[in-house]
């Protein structure tokens, strides 16, 4: 049965699917093709950098397209233990 299956139902499609999903999530991030992502990134960096030390590479903006909803993921890495002033207020 296994041999039968291997001879007659080679399933390479799942591999194609998996490779594409990995590749495209990467390419969408890097290329995006979109000016939206790079302008978001720049403007977010500008706002954050006004208040805390933050560099270009610390802002990651990712778009996962989907229906009926897309996910815009924004990640900002800030060095050190960030003091957001709660202790002072308390």
């Amino acid at each position: 049965m296994t041999l039968w299956k291997r001879l007659f139902s080679s399933t390479s499609a799942p591999q194609a699917r998996e490779r594409l999903q990995i590749l495209l999530s990467h390419e969408r991030q890097v290329l995006g093709g979109s000016d939206l992502l790079s302008s978001l990134r720049e403007e977010i960096l500008a706002v954050v950098a006004k208040h805390v030390p933050c560099e270009q590479d610390n802002v990651k903006v990712r778009l996962e397209r989907g229906t009926p909803m897309s996910i815009l993921e924004i990640e900002v890495e800030v060095r050190g233990n960030l003091d957001i002033g709660i202790s002072k207020a308390a």
């Binding site: 007659f8 139902s9 699917r17 594409l20 999903q21 229906t67």
Partner: protein
């Protein structure tokens, strides 16, 4: 005002020109006024697929450069009264199409037709971005195969960035047309399934066109496949797609494998 459609894909050889002719003819058969426009400067082929190659006198570039008026360059289809072709130029100068020229011609066409269908060249360069510039609807032609899916994804990104709609902060209505779909290989599991491609690209599905010898036959005769043998499987797929573009709610038919005796035996055994 016409609805402007661009047939695009990134990758070459996936079926853009076949689709432009087939959907153009299918829409024209419903009585709508349709013009198909070949943007593949230097490699024009839409004229051949439409069977109009011997009637090309003036082309897109002649019109842009003022050597001919638009009505002189438009070729009326032999079979359908409301179907017209604007052929591409065979010049090797890729810069012959200019942004202003394209804007003017598409603007003029859209005042006189119900549908303007732009056949994009392959690639992501100027020719392709000019072809998509005015698109309200983009038909993203994709084969169920890794490189085609990747290139389609790339094109979707460009449609969202480099079209007039994108510049206005709007989005192009993108529809996936899966072509050269082989039900036998899909059933065997060595071709990406429709659901796989839909999930990866997350675009609404306009139709599924099966791989079929009818396409080659129609192109040999110079007749759009949708009207060459209207009962063939690809013709039906293209007609359904055309009706969906017109807003009709047509049930999606996945091309099914026609099982021969041996196939039936295999399926029972598996």
């Amino acid at each position: 005002m016409a609805k402007i459609i661009t047939v695009t894909s990134g990758k070459g050889g996936v079926g853009k020109t076949t689709t432009t002719a087939a959907i153009g003819a299918a829409l024209a058969r419903t009585g709508d006024k349709v013009v198909v426009v070949d943007f593949d400067v230097g490699l024009r082929n839409l004229d051949l697929i439409m069977g109009a190659e011997r009637r090309v006198v003036y082309d897109f570039v002649n019109v842009i450069q003022g050597d001919a008026r638009l009505p002189q360059a438009l070729i009326k289809d032999k079979r359908l009264d409301s179907l017209f072709l604007l052929p591409a130029s065979q010049t090797r100068d890729k810069d012959a199409l200019t942004e202003e020229g394209v804007d003017k011609v598409i603007g003029d066409l859209s005042r006189h037709f119900d549908w303007v269908i732009c056949d994009s060249p392959a690639g992501i360069e100027r020719g392709a971005t000019l072809a998509m510039r005015h698109a309200e609807i983009a038909i993203v032609v994709t084969n169920p195969e890794v490189s085609s899916v990747r290139d389609s994804d790339r094109i979707v990104g460009i449609l969202d960035a480099k079209t007039l709609k994108a510049e206005r902060g709007e989005t192009v209505d993108k529809r996936l047309l899966l072509t050269r779909y082989d039900p036998v290989r899909a059933a065997r599991g060595d071709m990406l399934k429709t659901e796989d491609v839909l999930e990866i690209l997350s675009l609404p599905l306009l139709g599924i066109v099966p791989e079929s010898p009818d396409v080659l036959k129609a192109s040999n005769m110079g007749v759009p496949v949708s009207i060459n043998d209207p009962n063939s499987a690809p013709a039906r797929a293209y007609h359904d797609a055309a009706l969906r573009l017109k807003g009709e709610d047509i049930a999606m038919e996945t091309p099914r494998q026609r099982l021969g005796l041996f196939g039936k035996f295999l399926r029972r055994a598996a």
